[in-house]
Amino acid sequence: MALKFHADDLVENPTPRVPVTLCLDTSGSMMGEKVRELVKGVNLFYDAIDEDDDAHDSAEVSIVEFNSSASLIQDFASIENLKRIESIDASGGTALGEGVNLALDTLEQRKMIYSNAGVLYYQPWLVLMTDGQPNGRPEELKRAIDRVTEMVAQKKLTVFPIGIGADADMTVLARFSPNRDPLRLRGLSFKEFFEWLSKSVSRVSRSTPGDEVKLDLNGLRGWAEL
């Protein structure tokens, strides 16, 4: 029955979707305050989507975590079907490339499901958050960077690379985002970031001056350093 409900939810809602995939660093260095604040931020993101009329019907969120390996902890789902996160254990290494690749694979699958059913969607978003240096397999990292930059170039992906704290490798993050500098989170202001993110999801369906996705980047200045 659960399966059936999901399928109906997908085809009975004609609103074009905004797939948002959160690719989150849960390596050992995230342990403690950082990961707790991150979990709070994600749950707040869910709340904000739930409360916003437009985001409620359009957002679909998935979460990939990466530490010594990558795993999908939330497959794409509408807000009604998203499970709240109680806690995340942070331990191990930083397989960033593996994480991004899994996130992109999940996204491709979702797009396939949309297309088979005739469901419309807006340009997907990838939010990449890390507090350190990638130390997974170098070829995976390279493949991830190539995939992301190509999709961005084709306007098939909007990427938000976010560095957490002073140790985040901003150079690697920059390689994921050729057009826009990565952002470094000021302190642990996840809350502000996710609030901004949900507002931006809501904004996607609005009228725009051109065919560009409208992102209110000014809104980012308050919490991030450029």
Binding site: K4, D8, V11, E12, N13, P14, T15, P16, D53, D54, D57, K111, Y114, S115, N116, A117, G118, V119, L120, Y121, Y122, Q123, P124, K156, S205, R206, S207, T208, P209, G210, D211
Partner: protein, 769 residues
Amino acid sequence: MDSQVRLMEAEIVPPESFVAVDHRLFIDTNVFMDTDPVRSAGLKKLFERCKDAAIGNANGIVVPSKVIDELIWQSGLDTSAFPDDRAAAVERAGKWLEVLKELAAHRVVRNDLGDGSNPYADDLFVGLFSHFGGRYNMCLLTNDITLRLRIRLLAVSTGHRLVAGTVRGDGQIVLDDEKSLYDRAVWKLTRINRNIDEGLAKPKDRKELAFLTSLLDEFKRALPVAALDTGSVPKQGDKLMAGGSPRRSSGFKRVTTLKPKDQLLPDTAIPGAGDRVFIETANSRVALQLGGLLGEGGEGSVYAMDGVESQVVKIFDKDHRTTHRKAKIELLLERALRAEGIGFPTGLITNADGAFVGYSMPKASGKELQATIMRPARFRRVYPNWTKADLVDVCISFLEKVEYLHSLNILLGDINPKNLMVDEHKDVWIIDADSWQVEGYPCPVGTAMFTASSITGDYANSLRTVEEERFAVATMLFMILITGQFPYARAGADGGDFATLIREGKFAFQFQGVSNRDQPEGNWKFMWSHLTPPVKRLFWNTFQKEGGSRYDRRPTASEWLAVFREYRSFFGSAHDFDPMSNDVYPIRLKAFRPDTPIRDCPGCGRKNAIAGKSNDDGASYYVPPLCYGCEKTKLPCADCGKSKSADQLKDGLCSDCRPIPCNDCGKQTRKPELQYGRCPACVKKGTELDPNRLCSDCRQPFITYDHKHWFTSKGLDIPKSHLAIKKACPTGAFAPQSARTARNTTGAPRPASATTAPGLWARLVKWFS
């Protein structure tokens, strides 16, 4: 100025004040027949609020006998051929009649007043009000705008407290502000005018037209129509709304050259809630205070206008205070255009320094289409009782406004479900006048799904054509009827590229046998199926690039209007034979002929859920056993994979795959494997020879378990030899006599026939060896 502002406000009156001594409250027929859930709930509350005072003051609410007569006549009508809403109105009439009887018995209502001398209830009320106006303060509850206008005029000419209004949800009475009263009457007039032009008018429409025209003239003379209004009454047959000023009565100039690039205006203070601003019209400048913030958009914020209920103010943010916007608003203001449902600017708003910061406009009623009709889940919650006919009314309301704006050479530009509002009366409001395209000022924004493929996407630096706007109009109509589905949604296509979907022009919904393989999943195809052929044809021809005859020559708003009006009249007509035609969300395809068998579904019990499918012979029908939904919710059996309806499965298994015990050994076995209730092992065993039972002649096993069982089940003795069961003893199979003798001699006495046989066999064996 003050008095004019005051006139613009709607007034809320507690109904009980009109059952006080020296007051009288009357109710018109249409109020009892109103099917609007808010107002009908309000009417009940009104009676509750009034009952004690009415009884105490011996001053019941007056429902004249004329009204009672009308209700009796209405409630006696045969509604079987009526559209749903009309039938519902008639039903209300019947219910209220009962209630009124009760209320009259308790003296809350007086229904015994009046005589048959006046054939029209309207005239009766006006007569009563003019006759008794000097003696009582009187109030009439009526939904008829003409009648409300007449009472207002009467009040002005006599100076008495005579009012007419409508009931709202909490039972209080709303008295229209003069401007909206006037606007509504103008709108009604325009509607009648258009019906007459298009040959749809009834005789009484012509009468009403003449009457209402003179009434509006009188209204203009008698009342200083609110400060913001400078319109004049449209002439007969003039399709334009109130307004066309004498100087320039036709539309705006048709301009095909773009104005010089838009520029930001020099910075100035942007006012906010509570700030003092000025509203400027042709010859006045009035101070007012911005009320509370009502909403924020991409270009600015909308505020209430303090003290003026019917107007709101849009203040641009500093990045959107531009030369184009200012010029556009001024241009629109020149004509002083007014129309119910269109957010024409009513005044230029300036700050304390006299700088342009925004404009005022009438307050739109209702909610964004985006938040209502475009989302099935929400739509079902917000307007649960709406039918397809109601959606057609919404389309008509939208088209009437578009047609009018186009007649003025105004393009809406950015048509999208956030710029359109719809209220519970199915009236559409068009807002965002500052983004319209007029006289070379472009519409600087757009929405991908409504953008014709000929538009490059650089909205601000090119002018759109009316042909391009018609794409947006057609898309909007489709998305209203199919509640949010995009016409180019298509299974198997990348749904992430709207521009390509539009450019490819592949319309996946089935039309006259054209393939429907790519229709998007879900029940959209049923919604499409039930549209009438003319509506489908026009959509298909507009959206389908290959073969669509109107793909390059899209229908005008007027053309769509004709088609949708025809659709509206289809409901309840003789051609409307499918009981599901008026459902917003039908659950099956349309029945194609009146003789199509239609059944309730035995699976889910839903009414009319199954329609027969025409057989190849074209004359007979195949009626599926279950409705589409039940058929679809069939699940595969976990074992064999065959699809079965939910009630046919137990533990995920169909009856075939559900194990049942073997009759013989009791082992759990799948049904198809059982033979006469026995598992394969028992079946196999049955065909084997019983080794313990030997032929009396050859001393070999000779009878199978099954065969043995057959004799015992018949109550017969089990035969003793091959011969006895018409079989021959196997050659060379004679066992040494000695080994078996003992046992056999203890056996039952041999039948006579058996005794001869071994001799024969023995001889033969001997002979062979």
